[in-house]
């Protein structure tokens, strides 16, 4: 796989209401990147992913995804949102929830290959046994796994994950990172996360965001920037004391 640029953001500014959520962001993601997006709450991480997906169009700046407009490029993207707002009583099985994501456009039919892909994705996240369950009957962690399957079932070239480990247990987290290690040879991964310590062991690129882009490069060089951005030493963040991070941040 050649290392070509698949996402390019130039001077992207997003204004929601009165305030800028992203300001003058330049960012580049390559085909074999595994990138972590780090930043305090409200720093625009989710907005950044939505810009790549074309769900938000920036007021200023240029977005290219797979060399084209984000709304077109997103057919190569698998997306795991931070929150999914849906009715827990919704009449759909786990299998059909994942199958829905194989949508390829108007008047396309569901093929045998789509079904095989769903089985593969459910297998990868360890949810095959629960394929026939109604979606709302799952626990939060199980649901998160189904939504991960829903993202990878698209066989994307770019996987966008918004705080994927927030509701899964530690054991699942390990197998989750194993899965990402396996997937990263096939697709670029951009992951929003707060687990700075764990994430750094896996990624090759770190994006530090706090409305503006503070750092964008190899993980090794990121520590100082993160300390500055969170206004506290990296080991506090890395050892997972998020309330300390938040506390310091508020006092700024």
């Amino acid at each position: 796989m050649t290392n070509t640029e698949i996402v390019s953001l130039k001077g992207v500014t997003v204004i929601i209401g009165e305030s800028a959520v992203l300001e003058d962001v330049d960012l580049s993601i390559d085909q074999n990147d595994f990138a972590a997006v780090i930043g305090p709450n409200g720093s625009g991480k989710t907005t950044l992913l939505k810009v790549m997906l074309g769900l938000l169009t920036p007021g200023v700046g240029d977005v290219k995804v797979f060399g084209t407009k984000a709304a077109k490029g997103r057919k190569h993207i698998g997306y795991l949102p931070q929150h999914s707002s849906f009715d827990p009583g919704f009449p759909i099985s786990v299998f059909d929830t994942v199958l829905m994501s194989r949508y390829r456009g108007f008047m396309t039919r569901i093929s045998a290959r789509d079904r095989t892909a769903v089985e593969w994705a459910l297998e990868k996240v360890g949810m095959v046994e629960l394929a026939n369950r109604q979606i709302g009957s799952l626990s939060d962690g199980q649901m998160q796994r189904v939504f991960l399957a829903r993202a990878i079932v698209r066989e994307p070239k770019l996987l966008l994950l918004d705080e994927p480990t927030a509701s899964i247990d530690p054991e699942m987290q390990n197998s989750f990172y194993e899965l990402l290690e396996e997937l990263k040879s096939k697709m670029a991964i951009v992951m929003v996360s707060h687990d700075v310590g764990v994430v750094f062991a896996h990624v090759n690129k770190v994006v530090c965001l706090n409305r503006k882009l503070f750092y964008h490069g190899p993980a090794e060089g990121a520590a100082d920037v993160i300390e500055e951005m969170y206004h506290c030493p990296i080991d506090l963040i890395a050892h997972g004391i998020p309330h300390r991070v938040l506390h310091k941040h508020k006092q700024r």
């Binding site: 997906l53 769900l55 709304a71 997103r74 057919k75 993207i77 997306y79 949102p81 999914s84 707002s85 849906f86 009715d87 009583g89 919704f90 009449p91 759909i92 099985s93 929830t97 829905m100 994501s101 949508y103 390829r104 456009g105 108007f106 008047m107 569901i110 109604q134 829903r150 698209r154």
Partner: protein, 263 residues
């Protein structure tokens, strides 16, 4: 059985089947997408179309079609484009539509015959022409759902994710609202504009307790619709009660019973 020798009874039975198809299919979306009150808004606003029919001297069912389609599009635009909260948009459209209907009827020369049957329904007075209109609308509804089923299911589940996988969420939402508008027209004769939401929600709400497969839900809601309207019709005939209200009460009773038993 001997009742079947009356033409109006036979028509009422045909009408029951036709309304049940609309409420089984579109009612399912109304319930799973949780847009009951948007549907209520569209149905009440369609009174404007009924009034227009009186004013122009044509069958109010015919004028109700473009009028409810227009109100569906308006409710969508007020809600999505003007950034007005959904419940506010519903409140505006609901009352403006009814007001237009009242003014149109006011302006119509003479007395408005059958007005009550449009407000509260009278399934015993469905002429052949209206049965044909209902059949055509049903066919439009079924074929559109046949084409856009995957998209409708996805936007009902999660609109933002649907956009992320390349579905034109807003256009399809507007299309779904238009199908609701057409269903409203199919249902008006049975229960009237006031009670249309009963048929759009209760059969699907009952059926949702038995299956979480959407295909089965369509079928089961349609069957529930047929059984409850025919039962309501029979009860109203035997006890000499208003048919629309009786049908809604039968639906309500079945819903309550099923809910109690299933819990």
């Amino acid at each position: 059985m001997e009742l079947l020798k009356y033409e109006f009874i036979r028509h009422a039975l045909y009408a029951s089947v036709l309304i049940s198809v609309a409420c089984g299919v579109i009612g399912t979306y109304v319930v799973i997408k949780r847009i009951t009150f948007i549907s209520g808004g569209i149905s009440h606003a369609s009174l404007g179309g009924i009034g227009l029919g009186y004013l122009l001297g044509v069958n109010p069912i015919v004028t109700a079609i473009p009028f409810s389609l227009l109100s569906a599009v308006c409710i969508g635009i007020i809600n999505r484009r003007l950034k007005v909260a959904e419940d506010t948009a519903i409140g505006i459209l609901w009352t403006v539509g009814i007001s237009l209907g009242i003014i149109f009827i006011d302006l119509s020369p003479g007395y408005a015959p059958d007005l009550m049957s449009y407000l509260f329904g009278n399934i015993l007075t469905v002429p052949t022409g209206e049965l044909v209109v209902m059949l055509v609308l049903d066919l439009i509804i079924i074929s559109t759902v046949g084409i856009f089923h995957r998209e409708f299911l996805a936007i009902s589940f999660d609109e933002e994710y649907s956009s992320a996988i390349g579905i034109s969420t807003e256009r399809l939402y507007f299309l779904l609202l238009c199908l609701i508008a057409l269903s409203v027209v199919v249902l008006i004769k049975a229960v009237g504009v006031i009670m249309v939401i009963a048929l759009l929600t209760i059969p699907a709400a009952i059926s949702k307790r038995f299956t979480y497969n959407i295909g089965k839900l369509f079928l089961l809601s349609t069957l529930t619709g047929v059984c409850c309207t025919v039962a309501g019709l029979w009860v109203s005939y035997m006890l000499d009660l208003a048919s629309g209200a009786t049908i809604v009460l039968v639906l309500g009773t079945v819903f309550l019973t099923v809910s109690l038993v299933k819990n």
